[in-house]
């Protein structure tokens, strides 16, 4: 709700025809719109307290080229303790609270991609993904690794539930986890640099 309201505000700011009276009939209106985009970008950056900020408006009929970021497949090892369970990997945009130690405390505002695979022979392989870049947001900034018993898993924050891209709805059983771990985007990028030729990045749990 909060996000919707913020997005509405942003749209109104930039596109709303009910603008302030003093702006009417003034030449630099276009410049004002640009200033607002800049301002909103800065606001989004000042703090993680503000919600997702997407200024794109899908009004044109022809779709523009999408800018994407590709991430190689991930092969997660040392999962022997979780034989027969499932590993869900979430590529998401989120933030850490002011104080935290637990990955579970990462607040995910937008889940960009999810893959669930069975854990077999102590390992699980997640296929490569291609994620769109939109607005003042990276393609992702956290990769969450969740081991769980049930076939499906839905991420829940402390006080909210982000939309699951597969359309799954959280219930009492699909929100249960055995272990949660995380990598930041920069950590994953560092691993990718260390393994330049690997088709799948080798990770250890």
């Amino acid at each position: 709700m909060k996000q919707n309201s913020l997005l509405r505000q942003i749209r109104e700011l930039i596109f709303d025809p009910r603008a302030k009276a003093e702006e009417r009939n003034s030449a630099p209106t276009q410049r004002r719109a640009f200033t607002r985009i800049l301002a909103l970008g800065l606001l989004a950056g000042i703090s993680g307290w503000f919600d997702a900020m997407t200024i794109a408006e899908a009004q044109n009929t022809s779709a523009p080229r999408t800018r994407t970021e590709s991430i190689r497949a991930l092969q997660v090892e040392n999962l022997g303790a979780y034989q027969g369970k499932f590993l869900t990997v979430l590529y998401a945009i989120g933030s850490k609270p002011v104080l935290s130690t637990d990955n579970r405390q990462t607040e995910l505002t937008e889940i960009r991609a999810v893959h669930t695979v069975p854990i077999q022979n102590g390992r699980a392989t997640i296929p490569s993904v291609s994620l769109p870049i939109v607005g003042f947001r990276p393609a992702y900034n956290f990769v969450m690794f969740v081991v769980h018993e049930q076939r499906d898993f839905v991420w829940t924050n402390t006080t909210s539930v982000p939309r699951d891209p597969r359309g799954l709805v959280a219930n009492d059983s699909n929100t249960l986890s055995l272990r949660v771990a995380a990598l930041t985007k920069s950590q994953l990028e560092r691993i990718a640099v260390e393994q330049p030729n690997a088709a799948a990045l080798l990770l250890s749990f």
Binding site: Q9, I14, F15, A19, E23, N25, A27, R31, A33, F34, T35, A39, L43, G45, S47, G48, A52, A56, E57, A58, Q59, P64, R65, R67, E77, N78, K96, V98, L99, S100, T101, D102, N103, R104, Q105, I133, V134, F136, R137, N141, H148, T156, T158, T159, S160, T175, L176, S177, L178, R179, V180, A181, A182, L183, K185, E194, L202, L203, S204, F205
Partner: protein, 641 residues
């Protein structure tokens, strides 16, 4: 999130709480372990098994018992350097991309028609020409009248990329002094950009409402790029942050500084978009020469770029702070509150009991010559039951005090009110987690009230390394002996003090004792103060009230054995406490601990190097492999239940 493989079992236990209480017997060291876990729990949750997140959705129904002066974060000038040198790393954890942004479609439409004369404001000559052309066209051509335009701009695939030679968030004490702001802090975002590229797939301008025949103007693949030998662009965006008692959080953008105007840019494009213009005289058609159009545009390109630079510079210096302040008023929430789950100390690691919830609220921001201070209030509540109210006597006796520490010696000081620790112990006790103490040899005593912790600066003998603590524990014990049984009206209730110490565990994991071994903090129970035994009057009969000294003496005898054992071998809590927490996702390393007379634990901390958490490259040696092994073992243990 709950661990479902123990769900059914736990549900059964929940239905029968007495089963949980009667079967579990804790070791005496466990009580200190619980205190340690409570300390850890004050700021974090370290349980591997996710649980309770959905319970957080019940937050709205919680009664919040707020503890003021709960947590203090004091960033020294040395620590501020971290944000000057590693801001991008911090921004990684906020989900905001400052290096690049991309917008698939940006549409903008003028809200009302723009008067043609206003399009050349400041150039009376051009204004006159525009008016003249407008008149000529409408007089000489039927139906060709230029209306005041109401343009629509469509930008597809727009984006930018920046590279910084500097990106820093700094505290500006000088500007704060000049502005004479009382309280709050003036901070500034400073950037130096050495590479800048902005572009789009298409920029198209149309006027379908007022002048549809003008078609589309614009460019394909326009690209504005900073030249290689261009001076860097310097930006400074200062802002003032304050928490006012009646107005909540205020963020005010202050005048900015930019050097956009002095940078050199190159503008390129794949093609220009322009309407096809044909002049027809009788049957002869004369098409507009596009090459002339392009040549003309090329001739004026430098001027266009200069105008763009000046516009950008003007925006940053004048209208941007104004617009930011307009929007900040609407966007900044008055009261910032951050809610997180907290794993209750004493909870079985395989259990799926709901986590506690704790909230942090920013109460004060201040900038002094020594520190940038953030002071926060907090609450901790149990969403699964009605929580008892916090005990006023268990709170700190005043504000935290950093006197005696050298701000040049650490990056960050974090203070924790003992009231927070005691609140967690109180809630865990209310759930029945702290119910029994094992005295050894199969004998145990029941805890009749939640243990409370006090932090005692007078008891510490090495204040930079240790934080001394005194835990007051109330136990209920069956009495033996004819006289004692006559003196009590049932089980006797006594309180006594346990002394322990908290210390940072650094160095190799195999080490032990203060200053060595593992990560985070450790707790060690040193001694039981047998002389501190006090008998609860309400548990005595009228006879016992008369002979209370004898009952106390009997209770002391009972504790004597446990005290002697502890004195011989201090009980070290085996697991490291995952404290200090991360600050904005940045790992911290403890450098020292101290307590003050008001009852605050102060951790003196440095920002740590980047380490992997529990997922790491297969070959990495810097991962926390010991923790990974512990978690794997825990998973096996829980699965076997």
């Amino acid at each position: 999130m709950r661990s479902d493989f123990v769900q059914r079992k736990v549900n059964r236990l929940r239905r029968s709480p007495s089963l949980v209480r009667s079967k579990k017997v804790r070791r005496i060291g466990w009580s200190l372990g619980a205190l340690a876990a409570a300390l850890a729990g004050v700021l974090t949750s370290s349980s591997a098994l996710g649980s309770g997140a959905r319970d957080g959705l019940r937050l709205r129904n919680l009664e919040k018992n707020t503890i003021e002066n709960a947590v203090g974060i004091y960033l020294t000038p040395k620590g501020e350097k971290y944000f000057a040198e590693n801001l991008e790393r911090v921004l990684d954890n906020t989900g905001f991309s400052i290096r690049e942004a991309y917008f698939p479609i940006l549409n903008w439409r003028a809200e009302t028609p723009i008067r043609l004369e206003h399009m050349a404001t400041g150039n009376p000559e051009l204004q006159a020409t525009i008016t003249q052309i407008r008149q000529l066209l409408s007089e000489w051509f039927k139906g060709l009248s230029i209306q005041d335009p109401q343009p629509e701009v469509a930008v597809r695939g727009a984006g930018y990329r920046l590279k910084f030679s500097k990106l820093a968030l700094v505290a500006d004490r000088q500007l704060q002094g000049i502005l004479r702001r009382q309280g709050g802090a003036v901070l500034a975002l400073e950037a130096e950009i050495h590479e800048l590229e902005a572009g789009a797939e298409v920029v198209a301008i149309r006027d379908p409402q007022r002048n549809p025949y003008l078609g589309t103007l614009g460019a394909k693949e326009p690209n504005l790029k900073m030249r290689r030998n261009s001076p860097t662009v310097k930006l400074r965006l200062p802002f003032y942050v304050n928490v006012a008692p009646n107005r909540g959080l205020q963020v005010e953008s202050l005048p900015m500084f930019s050097t956009f105007a002095s940078a050199d840019f190159d503008l390129r494009y794949a093609d220009l978009l322009a309407p096809k213009i044909v002049l027809q005289i009788d049957d002869q058609r004369f098409e507009m020469n596009r090459e002339t159009l392009v040549r003309n545009f090329e001739q004026h390109k430098t001027k266009i770029v200069d105008q763009l630079k000046l516009m950008l510079d003007k925006i940053v210096k004048t209208s941007l702070p104004e617009t930011l302040n307009e929007q900040l008023t609407n966007l900044v929430p008055q009261h910032l509150e951050q809610v997180s789950p907290l794993s209750p100390p004493g909870k079985d690691e395989c259990s799926s009991d709901a986590d506690f919830l704790w909230g942090l609220m920013l109460r004060r921001v201040a900038l002094t010559p020594d520190v940038l201070a953030l002071e926060l209030a907090a609450y901790i509540e149990d969403p699964s039951r009605r929580s008892p109210r916090p005990e006023a006597s268990a709170m700190a006796r005043g504000a935290a005090n950093l006197a005696g520490t050298d701000p040049k010696g650490y990056d960050l000081a974090m203070t924790v009110n003992r009231g927070l620790i005691n609140r967690i112990l109180q809630l865990s006790h209310a759930r029945g987690y702290f119910d029994r103490l094992d005295l050894g040899d199969g004998e145990s005593i029941k805890l009749w009230k939640a243990p409370t912790v006090d932090l005692d600066p007078s008891a510490g003998n090495a204040p930079r390394e240790f934080a001394q603590l005194r835990a007051t524990v109330g136990v209920e014990s069956e009495v033996s002996g004819f006289m004692e049984s006559l003196a009590t009206s049932g089980p006797v209730r006594v309180s006594f003090d346990i002394y322990g110490r908290i210390y940072p565990a650094t160095g190799p994991a195999s080490g032990s004792g203060p200053g060595g071994g593992g990560k985070g903090l450790r707790v060690r129970a040193d001694r039981i103060d047998v002389a501190s035994v006090r008998v609860e009057r309400s548990s005595l009969s009228w006879l016992g009230a008369i002979f209370s000294g004898s009952v106390e003496s009997a209770a002391r005898k009972k504790l004597q054995a446990a005290a002697a054992k502890l004195a011989m071998q201090p009980a070290e809590i085996p697991a490291d406490i995952d404290l200090p927490p991360e600050f904005f996702g940045q790992r911290l390393q403890p450098k020292g601990l101290r307590v003050d007379r008001n009852g605050h634990l102060t951790m003196l901390l440095d920002f740590g190097p980047i380490t992997y958490n529990s997922v790491r490259p297969l070959s990495a040696a810097d991962g926390n492999q010991e923790e990974a092994r512990r978690l794997a073992e825990l998973a096996r243990r829980c699965a076997s239940r």
